[in-house]
């Protein structure tokens, strides 16, 4: 059994009057892939956005309860979100490369965190990040071309490389393949499999098959509540909860 990297306790999230998460208690293991599944609007994305405090951006959003990373509370007003986000990277639903060169897309993160003082160091970070994201071979000759000129799948891998570039411990992925074709999706899934040796990964997905393929642990959300969580194999073969059973067999959602 792996160590627990992220632990949420009684996590509640409100968007104004509306409550989006109800008392979520979820432990995520280190260097494992945890998949979060559930129908649209069930709070999966809201949950992972709590882990890097991305919900701070939304004025009306209020978060109560605890989230700990390595036993340290992060849902704390005094916590420096910049260093939190350096440790917890994120990949979004729609690829969102900066409208800059491929090189600048990757080197931006290291630069603002003071990593890679010299050009050589930066070059090295860019290369290793792109290699880890399995994009290096495709773009090594055109690093100065705009990142927005790549194909959708390449753009998403560029965003993964960007997240890796600051050497995070956790990578959050919010439906990273929803805008991609099956071939690009397969590449990203392969990549996730490799990345889990070095990073703790949380992936939100609408594809049951994807959850089965990439994750070790799966959590099922419904209407803001965490219904069931467990080994992926168990959740998909023999869930304890009737609702989980109904969802994975496609009876609702």
């Amino acid at each position: 059994m792996s160590d627990i990297k992220i632990r949420s306790k009684n996590l509640n999230v409100y968007y104004g009057e509306k409550q989006a998460l109800f008392d979520v208690n979820l432990d995520l293991n280190e260097k494992e892939v945890t998949a979060l599944i559930g129908p649209s609007g069930c709070g999966k994305s809201t949950f992972i956005r709590c882990i890097n405090r991305m919900n701070d951006v939304i004025d009306i959003c209020k978060v109560t309860g605890n989230i700990e990373i390595d036993g340290i509370e992060i849902n704390d007003k005094n916590l420096d979100v910049v260093s939190l986000r350096e440790r917890v990277g994120m990949v979004f639903q729609k690829p969102n490369p900066f409208p800059k060169s491929i090189y600048d897309n990757i080197s931006y993160g290291p630069k603002i965190h003071g990593k890679g003082e010299s050009k050589d160091e930066l070059d090295e970070i860019v290369e290793s990040s792109l290699r880890k994201a399995a994009l290096w071979e495709e773009v090594k000759d055109r690093l100065d071309e705009p990142g927005t000129g790549l194909s959708g799948g390449q753009q998403q891998r560029l965003c993964i490389a960007r997240a890796i570039s600051v050497n995070p411990e956790v990578i959050l992925m919010d439906e990273p393949c929803s805008a991609l074709d099956p071939i690009a999706t397969a590449k990203i899934e392969e990549l996730i499999d490799e990345l889990k040796t070095a990073y703790t990964i949380v992936i939100v997905t609408h594809s049951m098959a994807q959850a089965v393929r990439v994750s070790q642990k799966t959590g099922f959300f419904h209407l803001g509540k965490l219904i069931e969580v467990g080994e992926t194999e168990k959740i998909f073969k023999n869930p304890d909860n009737k609702m989980t059973q109904d969802y994975i067999t496609g009876r609702f959602g």
């Binding site: 910049v82 979004f92 900066f98 960007r162």
Partner: protein, 420 residues
């Protein structure tokens, strides 16, 4: 109704709509053509002026200066007598009346023009040279065909005798046209042949620079703060509504504001480019903030999230990513705001820019005019020569506006980045 009928009806509705659209575009273009034609046909002649060839004899006795004079001696010299003597030789006039009629055919600055020639070449003393001396406004207009010479003499400013001189001079090929440098170099004048937009150009230039320096940074910072940092609540909503309202406030109200605050209370110097610039900045501020905020808003939130997710602070995500992307829109909004300010007349009239200013301002705190106010001033003048000057100045103003608007479009198209 059968299917064919319905289809036919649909097609004819579409055709009708296309016809209405084309017709309205045609009407709009027609008005533009009429306007431009009107301005050009009246104004283009202002860029040339009429001059009369005069043989000027620099008589050392009349000049009263020694051989090899110093520069000061030349510029202090009185060339009135030389000018009069030379002009009187152009046509055999006899008697004071006729002589005066002849002298009146020339600009009152004839003496100065002759002096300039001498300053340029001091070796001319004791020699005769043919100079193109600027004609009076009446001769200028007559020569350009704008003067109704068929009117009875008592209703004309030019006497029959003067017409006779003019016709003789034309026959002798002594009347020439040359480029109207006065129009670009001189300040305003009571004499149309000497009046120019030099002062108005400089005044407008200073006003716009001051307006840019004040309005641009304030507007950009205000929009960045309001769009990116300010909490969304009742107060910011109220501010937003007020900014939109201020952009719609008639410009003359800003003139009243400036009159009370800048002139009466702070006692800044009246009819100066400084006050004009501040007034225009106040007026332009909301007009820049609105496009500026719109272009910030147009940057997709995913860019901000992308930057925040790699650990950029709010400030970094805004200034490294959002602002550079919004810059083309911001710049073009600013230029269009400035172009509006450049053409603004009403507030400047209230702060005293309608004053008759002859000197070209050398600093922003000298009394000055501005292009649109100059148009207003000249359009009210009675002299025939100001008609073409009014139109010519409108042409100048329009060409500045067109250049600025093209620049705005160019900047936006060149630097705008696409994110999809």
């Amino acid at each position: 109704m059968t299917k064919e009928q319905r289809l036919k009806k649909r097609h004819s509705a579409e055709k009708r709509f296309r016809f209405y659209g084309l017709a309205s575009i045609f009407i709009a273009l027609l008005f533009v053509v009429i306007l431009v034609h009107n301005i050009f046909s009246k104004g283009s002649s202002a860029f040339m002026k009429t001059a009369i060839n005069v043989d000027v004899f620099f008589d050392q006795e009349l000049l009263g200066i020694p051989n090899n004079p110093s520069k000061e001696q030349i510029s202090d010299a009185d060339l009135y007598d030389v000018a009069i003597e030379s002009i009187l030789k152009v046509y055999p006039a006899s008697g004071l009346d006729q002589e005066n009629a002849l002298i009146d055919l020339f600009t009152i600055d004839a003496e100065i023009e002759i002096k300039k020639a001498l300053i340029k070449n001091p070796n001319l003393i004791g020699k005769t040279i043919t100079l193109e001396i600027t004609a009076s406004d009446d001769i200028d207009q007559l020569h350009k065909g704008n003067y109704p010479r068929e009117l009875p003499e008592d209703r004309r400013r030019i006497s029959d005798y003067q017409l006779q001189i003019y016709d003789t001079l034309v026959e002798d090929n002594k009347i020439v046209k040359n480029f109207n440098t006065y129009y670009f170099q001189n300040g305003d004048s009571r004499d149309p042949e000497l009046a120019g937009i030099g002062g108005a150009l400089v005044g407008s230039f200073y006003s716009i620079i001051i307006c840019l320096l004040l309005a641009f940074p304030v507007a950009v910072l205000a929009s960045i703060y309001l769009e990116e940092f300010a909490p969304k609540n009742k107060i910011t909503d109220f501010i937003e509504i007020n900014i939109n309202n201020l952009a719609a406030v008639p410009s003359i109200v800003y003139g009243l504001l400036a009159l009370q605050i800048l002139l009466a209370t702070i006692q800044l110097p009246r009819s100066t480019a400084l006050v004009a610039g501040i007034t225009l900045a106040l007026m332009t501020l909301p007009r820049i903030i609105i496009p500026c905020r719109a272009s910030l808003k147009a940057v997709p939130p995913s860019i901000r999230e992308g930057a925040l997710a790699v650990g950029a602070s709010k400030f970094q995500s805004v200034f490294h990513h959002v602002v550079p992307l919004a810059l083309p829109g911001t710049l073009s909004g600013t230029i269009i705001g400035l172009a509006q300010a450049l053409g603004e007349t009403a507030p400047l009239i209230l702060i005293g820019m309608v004053a008759f200013v002859v000197d070209i301002p050398s600093t922003p705190i000298d009394p000055s005019s501005s292009l649109p106010v100059q148009v207003y001033l000249w359009s009210e003048s009675a002299e025939r020569g100001f008609v073409e000057k009014t139109s010519a100045t409108i042409m100048m103003l329009l060409s500045f506006l067109i250049v600025m608007n093209f620049l705005a479009v160019y900047l936006r198209q060149k630097f705008e980045k696409r994110w999809n």
